[in-house]
Amino acid sequence: MLGIEDLNIFLVFTLCILSAIFCVIYGVLNWNKGQEKECDEIKEELMWEENENKINELL
């Protein structure tokens, strides 16, 4: 077991690597998922712009 005496430690050694690999796979599979709806984004941008203008006036 890669020179590791205890099965428990070998297990966690492997788990660490597997969990990092899981992160990579998860990220790749969901790379383009979870985007906000376009209309929401536009609405938000508008609100944002309005706020920005207000702040710029203040500054």
Binding site: G3, E5, I9, Y26, N30, G34, I55, L59
Partner: protein, 532 residues
């Protein structure tokens, strides 16, 4: 030495430039607090990781791993599992959306608005303002000590120099400055740890051969004679005996304490609110996972393996050869690695400290400006002023603490870090989970759990858990002994987080079952808008 100075100057110039970029792109207080919600996923992941992993995680815990062995890898697993997988996928996405729905800018504001409670917001803000400087001081002590040791300058001079640099770019750059430089510092840390892992395995004859040599140390009578570990230690490549003193320390304090504590860290939670959509969080997961593996994973492998090197070279195990756990990693690097690497690693360690501290200062500043100070007239200019003033105050308190603490607390770094993680988890984790997943959880239940967890945590640290109680000295003054735990039991080594989190969860559940949620349906609908 010349190499170190050159590397440091280059590093500081780049950091300064990134702080300036943050400053240039910060126009509003929203920009200052959550980066206008348009931070790049890679920057977000690296910033999260670099904030998470501080100097003490590499030097302090790496040294601890040299003492307790590779069982600490369970902490790496917890860090990836809870700190990345659970935190990003299950908490992060909901936090982002809900934070967005509630227009929250800080962690206290997030939970305060979700539960419609000013008390929760002010309480969380106060915990951050009053207790976070202790944790920040711990990281600063670690970094300043390393600078003192490595460059041979005075500790106080190192401290001051370090504080001024960080203060400048947090003060002006806001979270953008902090996150840009975090990402740069994270990249440096990644490269440094990668080189370290490769050369250690390579130098000890490969992965299996290196582990085998470490396992074989336990059959050497000279090693056994040098071991001064608590009962239950079975070797560096073995788990300690179940429920022994060593097991309790490793599992409760190190693995569970730090592993779960990370979920309710205000300076980390706020990072989820800096991105635009869940897509950015999905894209940040791979970088986060690999980064944590390369940081704590490498530290917890290199730490134990240093025993092989020290024993082969000096006939002594790491802790004895380096004279203390905190010295293991620095001494090992200096004797084992080539000189140029020390120069690289010096910058890595400074970067690790800076990235954590900058986020802490930022969290404290926003807690003061947004959560403790009531900005009734909505004056943006005044708000920025209060925020920067609060941050300046926090910086001064932290520097003062970092100046005083080492002289009164031995092992101040580990104690202060554990203290803040423990208190945060006990006070905020149940209500944070409740905020994200339980629509019917009442305000009373959330507040009771928070207060119950906080009080239990403080009491356990003051009267039972020897690590803190012998430093706080309250128990000794009142009862003449450091811990009220019965003699012969392992209670004195059971970490506060185990007890206080259990109490906090229990109180939250009991009160939730006996009280009714009084939130209007409209409020809950707003909070959970767009959350499936």
């Amino acid at each position: 030495m010349v190499l170190k100075v050159v590397f440091t100057i280059v590093y500081l110039s780049i950091t300064g430039f990134l702080g300036y970029l943050g400053f240039k792109h910060t126009k509003s207080s929203k920009d200052y607090m959550i980066g206008g919600r348009e931070i790049h996923p890679m920057v977000m992941a690296l910033s999260y990781g670099a904030t998470f992993i501080s100097t003490s995680a590499i030097i302090g815990f790496g040294g601890t791993a040299a003492f307790f062995g590779m069982s600490l890898l369970w902490l790496t697993f917890m860090n990836i599992f809870f700190g990345i997988i659970i935190a990003f996928i299950f908490f992060g996405k909901r936090t982002r959306k809900m934070g967005h729905n509630l227009d929250a800018h800080t962690f206290p504001e997030f939970i305060g608005r979700r539960y419609q409670s000013k008390f929760i917001q002010k309480f969380a803000g106060s915990v951050i303002f009053l207790l976070m400087p202790i944790y920040t001081a711990a990281v600063m002590i670690g970094a300043a000590k390393f600078i003192e040791w490595s460059l041979g300058v005075n500790y106080n001079a190192a401290l001051l120099f370090f504080a001024i640099i960080v203060a400048i770019y947090v003060f002006f750059g806001g979270i953008k400055g902090v996150m840009y430089s975090d990402a740069f510092q994270g990249t440096l840390m990644f490269i440094g740890m990668g080189i370290l892992l490769f050369s250690v395995y390579n130098g000890l004859g490969g992965i299996s051969a290196a582990h085998q040599k470490l396992s074989d140390l336990m059959s050497n009578p000279t090693v056994l004679a040098q071991l001064k570990v608590p009962p239950g230690f079975e070797g560096w490549t073995s788990m300690p005996t179940l429920f022994s003193t060593t097991w309790w320390i490793v599992v409760s304090s190190i693995v569970m304490g730090v592993g779960i504590g990370v979920l309710a860290q205000p300076q980390l939670v706020v990072r989820f609110m800096t991105v635009k959509s869940n897509r950015e969080i999905n894209r940040a997961v791979p970088a986060g996972g690999i980064f944590i593996l390369m940081m704590t994973g490498v530290a917890f492998i290199v730490g134990p393996l240093s025993n092989v090197y020290f024993f082969e070279k000096y006939g002594e195990i790491a802790v004895i050869a380096a004279k203390g756990t905190d010295n293991v990693i620095p001494v090992f690097l200096q004797t084992y690695m080539p000189e140029w690497f020390m120069a690289v690693f010096f910058v890595v360690i400074v970067a690790a400290g800076m990235s954590t501290i900058s986020s802490q200062f930022h969290a404290i500043g926003t807690a003061v400006g947004r959560d403790l100070y009531s900005n009734k007239d909505g004056d943006e200019k005044k708000l920025m002023l209060v925020m920067r003033g609060g941050m300046l105050m926090a910086i001064l308190i932290t520097v003062l603490l970092a100046y005083i603490l080492p002289s009164i607390w031995d092992g101040a770094i580990a104690i202060s870090t554990g203290l803040f993680f423990g208190v945060c988890a006990a006070a905020f984790l149940p209500l944070y989970i409740g905020a994200l997943y339980f629509k019917k959880l009442s305000k009373v239940a959330a507040i009771s759990g928070m207060c119950g967890g906080f009080v239990t945590s403080v009491l356990w640290m003051t009267f039972i858990h020897t690590k803190e109680s012998e430093v706080l000295k309250v128990s000794a003054l009142l009862f003449g002994k450091n811990s009220l735990a019965p003699v012969g039991s392992n209670l004195a080594v059971v970490d506060p987080i185990i007890i206080s989190l259990a109490v906090s969860v229990l109180i939250t559940i009991i009160v939730a079952l006996t009280t009714k949620s009084k939130f209007e349906a409209k409020h809950i609908a707003t909070c959970f808008n767009g959350i499936k």
